[in-house]
Symmetry: C2
Subunit: 220 residues, 2 copies
């Protein structure tokens, strides 16, 4: 059985943007503010450093078993840390291979950057992937190689097709509190944020603001 | 039980240096020339590319079960490919953690760059590591960050201490056919070569030359 996974407000960590705060401190504050899932990402860290970072983040949210901790790319690190899952991009290990290594009880997220990527993802055996990261909504300085943004209309269409195929979706790339409501309105199941939380002097308050923006006005 | 492992002439691949030849072709030729073990290394490849590369190398030497294929750094790739082992450096996942993931039936190599590194390696639980890579003998353009060379006397001393602790040793860094005999004379169990094979227009002949240089004159 997969871990609980509410993708509403999905924090992807960035070690540089968190400075001078330790990533684990930012995660703890952000979860207190309303973050529902965490992905540990550090493309500059060695695997040794990433393992230590993942364990620090897990310890920081150990009292919140409802908040899964997922590792970006590094399946070996996720296995050693006993993480709740892995998120892979189109250049990382193929999702089917990752599923073989992780077994049935972990989450797998997959980045999708186009309708072609989505078609491939929907052709995977059922249960391979849990959530698709529609990426990037807008161009973003935290991942310049991701290219120009999909825009809201493309995100809406990708989410519709993904949902028809039974997969959850999150949108990522350039999302801040001012834009969160517009992204939520596309029908995605959640938003991923990086700098909107990591670079904020008050990550808890930033998460609270983002979470409020995700909630329909009538429900607040 | 660990796979057979004769470290006498240990080829570490370099995709760039092999060009225009595919790495797998170079490996096949080098094994025909006398290479006894292969490590797939490509620090520029994505994990997806490294998995494909590892499988291509395994296929190229499938008729030589006596020649193990080991993956540099990427434990997840080694697991998926069913490789014979993993080689880790001081920045990669700690050897004890790698042993947990790989189980008892795979080889683990560990790079050792100083007497301090060696002392740590010798303090690991017995059976954690199979072979130590004494690195670098000489400064090498294929790994500039490895720093200045240990020199032959330091290699001799590190090998002596490692053997007293029951571990195999290979020397790596700047070794070519002209220097192979001097390195063998330090008492190491084998030599690692990269450019001396990968950059040679005739990898089979290069391996034959290196293998001959490793053999004491009276035994030729």
């Amino acid at each position: 059985m997969r871990p609980p996974f509410d993708p509403t407000l999905y924090l992807v960590t960035d070690t540089e943007l968190c400075r001078p705060h330790p990533v684990a401190d930012v995660v703890r504050a952000a979860v207190a503010g309303g973050v529902t899932a965490v992905q540990v990402r550090d493309k500059h860290a060695s695997r040794r450093e990433l393992l230590a970072l993942t364990r620090a983040v897990q310890a920081a949210v150990a009292d919140r078993p409802d908040v899964p901790v997922v590792v970006n790319d590094a399946v070996d690190v996720a296995l050693l840390a006993g993480a709740d899952g892995v998120h892979v991009g189109q250049e990382d290990l193929p999702a089917e291979e990752v599923r073989r290594l992780l077994g049935p009880d972990r989450l797998i997220g997959l980045s999708v950057e186009s309708a072609d990527d989505l078609a491939v993802a929907l052709g995977l055996p059922p249960g391979t992937v849990d959530v698709l990261g529609l990426s990037p909504v807008w161009a973003t300085p935290t991942k310049p190689e991701a290219g120009p943004g999909l825009g809201l209309e493309a995100v809406r269409e990708l989410a519709r097709v993904a949902h028809a195929g039974g997969l959850l979706t999150v949108a990522i790339g350039g999302i801040d509190a001012a834009r969160a409501a517009d992204v939520a309105a596309t029908g995605v199941d959640g938003i991923c944020v990086v700098s909107a939380v990591c670079a904020d002097p008050d990550p808890q308050e930033a998460a609270t603001r983002l979470r409020a923006a995700m909630t329909p006005v009538g429900a607040r």
